[in-house]
């Protein structure tokens, strides 16, 4: 752990090793990352950005460009990339190819790229993402970009790890419209129409705008994209008006802020600066909210872990005590309900077990 935070050629090695250990044994996170519980000393990224969208939309190419842009803006700050590709459901193997598009940065010590196989985890994220993210934070990555696999519910899943999510679309892909219809619009903070150099990009851009019922607003935000923060203020969300704490006001603005819609060409590197501006605008506005959200998510993760553990323990108990079949009779006879039996059994199981702490 200490090695990973140092500078020099072996530090990267240590960080890489640590990520593997966490990928294979996530339950050892706390042991492996044992750092002084002095919060001020524990580095946290300014921005964790999820990048998702259909296969081939240009997520990796765009990620490569964003990394270059942020490196230009902040030459002294490290940036991390976590690139997830699907595992074969048949063999468990994978070819992780996102890095092919990011080799521009292979010799830059300020850029740490890690490829992960989804390992059958539904939702487009690998389980190891959290561990890799932790290590990247600890080694001082100020920005972390997470590229998900281009299928299914990855938009929703990555939103549980990232501070904000960019959904990448490209013209000529039938499923873009499907994705729009499938109610995934809520999951995106930014909608990026890539391949602006191609026919149909403009139409797709306007289609997304109309689906979101946005009008292109220029000049209201520093990045000149579409942003309706001004509208949310018109709706009475005036900062500090009726809210007791500054933080709360920010949260309400956060929920009212409409997504940005941007047209870019990752291939020709057009529109990348505007995209980076839009991201930075959000980081500046919501940085504090993001930090508390990360803490809330850790709460949620702990709860999920407890539920999972409890589930395991209970099913072991239920499997061995053999009284379930007796209850089945009672339920059929009408004297009990599934719910009343479940409550009884949970109480019994809990009595026999040590309390879960």
């Amino acid at each position: 752990m200490q090695d990973a935070r140092r500078e020099g050629p072996t530090a990267t090695r240590a960080a890489g090793r640590l990520m593997s250990l966490l990928d294979n044994q996530p339950q050892r996170l706390s042991e492996l990352l044992a750092v002084a519980p002095d919060e001020a000393d524990t580095p946290e990224p300014d921005m964790v950005l999820g990048i998702t969208g259909p296969p081939g939309a240009g997520k990796s190419t765009l990620t490569n460009r964003l990394v270059a842009e942020f490196r230009k803006r902040y030459p002294d700050e490290r940036i991390g990339v976590i690139a997830v590709d699907p595992s074969s459901p048949f063999t468990g193997g994978a070819v992780l190819g996102d890095r092919v598009r990011m080799m521009d940065h292979a010799l830059d010590d300020g850029v740490f790229i890690r490829s992960l196989a989804s390992r059958g985890h539904l939702g487009g994220l690998a389980l190891g993402v959290r561990g890799v993210l932790r290590v990247m934070s600890v080694i001082g990555c100020k920005r972390v970009l997470i590229e998900t696999v281009g299928v299914g519910q990855s938009e929703v899943e990555v939103a549980r790890v990232a501070d904000l999510v960019a959904i990448v679309f490209a013209p000529g892909m039938g499923d873009s419209v499907q994705l729009l219809k499938a109610g995934l619009m809520e999951a995106g903070d930014l909608f990026v129409v890539n391949k602006a150099d191609r026919d149909g990009a403009d139409a797709l851009y306007h289609q997304i705008l109309s689906t979101l019922s946005l009008r292109p607003v220029q000049a209201h935000t520093p990045h000149g994209g579409v942003s309706l923060l001004d509208q949310c203020q018109a709706h009475g969300g005036e900062p500090g008006h009726d809210e007791p704490g500054a933080q709360k006001t920010e949260v309400s603005a956060y929920h009212l802020m409409q997504p940005d819609v941007l047209l870019v060409s990752a291939l020709e590197s057009h529109g990348i600066e505007k995209l980076a501006d839009a991201l930075e605008y959000r980081a500046a506005t919501f940085g504090q909210t993001w930090r508390s959200q990360r803490r809330q998510r850790i709460h949620d993760d702990i709860r999920d872990a407890i539920l999972e553990e409890a589930r395991d323990r209970l099913s072991t108990t239920l499997g061995t005590n053999g009284t379930v079949s007796e209850h089945v009779r009672h339920i059929l006879a009408g004297g009990e309900t599934v719910q009343s039996v479940a409550a009884k059994l949970i109480r019994r199981a809990a009595d026999r077990q040590e309390p879960i702490t």
Binding site: P9, T10, T12, R13, A15, G16, R17, M19, S20, N24, Q27, S87, S88, T91, G92, G93, A94, V95, L96, G97, R99, V100, M103, A106, L107, F112, I113, R114, S115, A117, R119, G120, D312
Partner: protein
């Protein structure tokens, strides 16, 4: 817990200036089909880029497809760079157009395996299973 064990991560690279990566892609796919997680880095990679990527990805092995005839230099450079980064435990293997006469020399340098165009998929997998089992 239902711990699933996963096969090793292997980085496949195609150094050199020519753009022929059929061999590299073929090996990547047979490894995937055998359950390995393959990080494919594409064509025209320098030894420096390859080693930097391998260290970040913490792979168990690096596979180089060399068609240029410069295999002695390339493997030598990759092994040297790995050493400089404290990563000599990452195994290096290769294939491509390597004359059988050079194989003993490469092995003496520390190359873990050299496959010829005639190597069967099964023999490649068997060898890599062995190489990557150490310290996994």
């Amino acid at each position: 817990m239902n711990q699933v064990t996963h096969k090793a991560r292997i980085l496949i690279a195609k150094p050199g200036l020519d753009g022929h990566d059929r061999g590299a892609k073929y090996v990547a796919h047979i490894l995937r089909d055998a359950g390995f997680e393959v990080i494919y880095t594409g064509i025209r990679r320098s030894p420096e880029q390859i080693v930097a990527a391998a260290v970040q990805e913490d792979v168990a092995a690096i596979g180089l497809s060399v068609l240029s005839g410069a295999h002695i230099e390339l493997f030598g450079r990759v092994l040297e760079l790995l050493k400089g980064r404290g990563a000599s435990d990452i195994a290096v293997f290769g294939g491509g157009t390597i004359p059988p006469a050079d194989v003993p020399r490469l092995e003496a340098m520390g190359v873990a395996a050299v496959f010829t165009p005639g190597s069967s998929a099964a023999s490649i997998i068997e060898k890599l299973d062995k190489i990557t089992a150490v310290g996994a």
